[in-house]
């Protein structure tokens, strides 16, 4: 289950950072936390990926899956 969500998350990451999905985040304004919107969006995607990786790690750990 978590593996599937993680897989989808990674595909979404790829889709949103490469053509043509990147158009969704490719705006300069508004500036968020001082960063242009596109740079902020990439940073946010990385943070989400960190969260997903943590969830994946915790779930594999509990199931004892090697």
């Amino acid at each position: 289950m978590v593996r599937w969500i993680f897989g989808l998350g990674i595909m979404a990451f790829l889709a949103m950072t490469t053509w043509p999905g990147v158009y969704m985040i490719n705006r300069i304004e508004p500036l968020v936390l001082g960063l242009p919107f596109n740079l902020f969006a990439i940073a946010l995607l990385i943070v989400v990926a960190l969260g997903l990786l943590t969830a994946l790690y915790l779930s594999e750990d509990q199931s004892g899956d090697k």
Binding site: I28, G34, P36, L50
Partner: protein, 492 residues
């Protein structure tokens, strides 16, 4: 005491501490090849984290990253994007490779591939391509160190001498302590780099523009083309989406295929350590953002550095900082170069001996360890010769290297997950993919750009590689069950 002397003194101090850590860390390791190349498979989480992180914070990221942001703007964002994509599969591949390594005694990537697909030619081919990809990479790190030292000592320590001192120290500790030195010095250097990236990345925009937001507002008014993806090319034209997207994909596929990174799977203490390292890895991507801010801070600065790669030392020297602070910053930039360079030299020498020589000559463990040390010296010397000669277009070579390194991904995946893959299929795919990448690179280099949609040559190579691997495998005799069981039973 003059200003540059204080700076030089701090750098000397930093280099001294690094050397001590490097030499002391090797005392506990065993004197075998496994101890020298794989650290007796005993690296903990802290060391693993910084070893992988140092790979992101190479001289390329530290000098090239700000340089890209400065001259090419949002094009630099691709460097942020590929890390997460590249590391994710390693969550599974890493522990699996580590299990096979423990069982069969592998210490390199080619040993893993050839364990499943026995072929001495394949092993030699991987070794040769690895060396070809490594030398420009090491050269780039050495030049980076030399550039920083020359810039901050106002030319009193020239590039050739700076690079020689920094890499003399790297060679010493790699020679004596092997991978243990790489691990522990990277940890020390990693802490250093992060502190610098953050403090300088925030300090410069605030002192020059009043804040990060103010800086970007001003760039938006004067140079809006820099802030919109995919940014610009090196010559200032708008970059293509094909180029941007395929750069992300090739770098993601290639990231963990660099032998100095992949081989670290064999150094981790446990699978759990390896997984935790993967989970924490994207934090290093976030640490890159302030490094880009340093480059953006230079965009509207009235003066320009001699070339875009000099933007970081240029901004540091022009920021009116006390000499001690400048010295510390430079030590951080040196950390970035040296922490990648040591790993590269060590891996290049290990691969040469373990994959290029060992399959053809039987040698004792002690002789192999000696031979690896000899190659550390040789590879260091060759790279140094390139580093001090002007006019080598290294960044171009490095990008090609990525195109070739990512051709290692299909054989690794096939070895671990696809039972029907055969030796002929893997060899044919590897040859076809690498030659395609080389063809498009060379034709582009000679002035005929034949690449469709501006796609990266490594991606074009993969597009040929994978069908050939699958096709030839299906057409040839499948591997016997015994062969598969002998390779994979414990890892299943």
């Amino acid at each position: 005491m003059e200003r540059w002397q204080i700076i030089a003194l701090i750098i000397a101090l930093y280099l001294g501490v690094t050397l001590c850590i490097g030499l002391f860390s090797g005392r506990g390791a065993s004197k075998s090849v496994q101890g020298y190349v794989a650290g007796d498979r005993d690296f903990g989480l802290l060391v693993m984290y910084f070893v992988l992180g140092a790979s992101i914070f190479s001289a390329f990221a530290f000098l090239g990253g700000p340089g890209w942001a400065y001259s090419r703007g949002a094009a630099a964002y691709y460097i942020l994007c590929y890390g997460v994509l590249g590391i994710a599969p390693y969550f599974w591949i890493g522990p699996k490779a580590a299990a096979l390594g423990r069982r069969h005694g592998y210490v390199t990537q080619a040993q893993l591939i050839c364990g499943r697909f026995p072929s001495r030619a394949l092993s030699a081919m991987i070794a040769i391509l690895t060396i070809a990809a490594f030398i420009p990479y090491i050269t780039l790190q050495m030049r980076g160190a030399g550039i920083v030292i020359e810039a901050v000592t106002e030319g009193n320590v020239p590039l050739w001498l700076g690079a020689a001192i920094a890499y003399g120290i790297v060679t010493l500790y790699v020679l004596f302590s092997g991978v243990a030195a790489v691990g522990w010095t990277n940890t020390f250097q990693g802490v250093f780099m992060l502190t610098i990236a953050w403090s300088l990345g925030l300090y410069l925009p605030i002192s020059l523009y009043g804040g990060v937001g103010d800086m970007f507002s001003q760039i938006l008014q004067e140079r809006p083309e820099l802030l919109s993806m995919p940014g610009l090319t090196a010559s200032g034209e708008p970059w293509s989406w094909g180029g941007f997207s395929s750069a992300i994909i090739v770098s993601a596929v290639g990231l963990m295929m660099w032998p100095h990174l992949f081989m670290k799977a064999f150094t981790a203490r446990s699978d759990d350590t390896l997984r935790k390292t993967v989970v924490l890895f994207p934090t290093f991507q976030l640490f890159l953002i302030p490094v880009f801010l340093i480059g953006f801070a230079g965009v509207l600065y009235p003066e320009a550095p001699p070339s875009a790669d000099f933007i970081l030392p240029f901004m540091i020297l022009n920021a009116d900082l006390p000499a001690i602070v400048v010295g510390l910053f430079c030590a951080g930039a040196l950390s970035a170069s040296m922490s990648t360079g040591d790993s590269l030299m060590h891996a290049a020498a290990s691969v040469t001996v373990e994959d290029g020589i060992r399959p053809f000559r039987s040698l004792s463990d002690k002789a192999r360890r000696r031979l690896i040390q000899g190659f550390v010296l040789l590879i260091g010397a060759v790279s140094y010769a390139f580093a001090i000669s002007e006019g080598m277009s290294l960044v171009v070579l490095l990008l090609t290297a990525y195109g070739i390194i990512c051709q290692l991904a299909p054989p690794i995946v096939a070895a671990l997950y696809w039972r029907r893959a055969t030796t002929s299929g893997v060899v044919a795919g590897f040859v076809a993919g690498s030659s395609t990448a080389a063809f498009f690179f060379l034709s582009g280099y000679l002035g005929f750009d034949l690449r469709p949609y501006d796609l990266h040559e490594g991606m074009l190579g993969l597009m040929v590689h994978i069908p050939v691997l699958v096709g030839v495998s299906l057409l040839t005799q499948p591997q016997s069950d015994e062969q598969w069981d002998a390779f994979a039973s414990s890892a299943a």
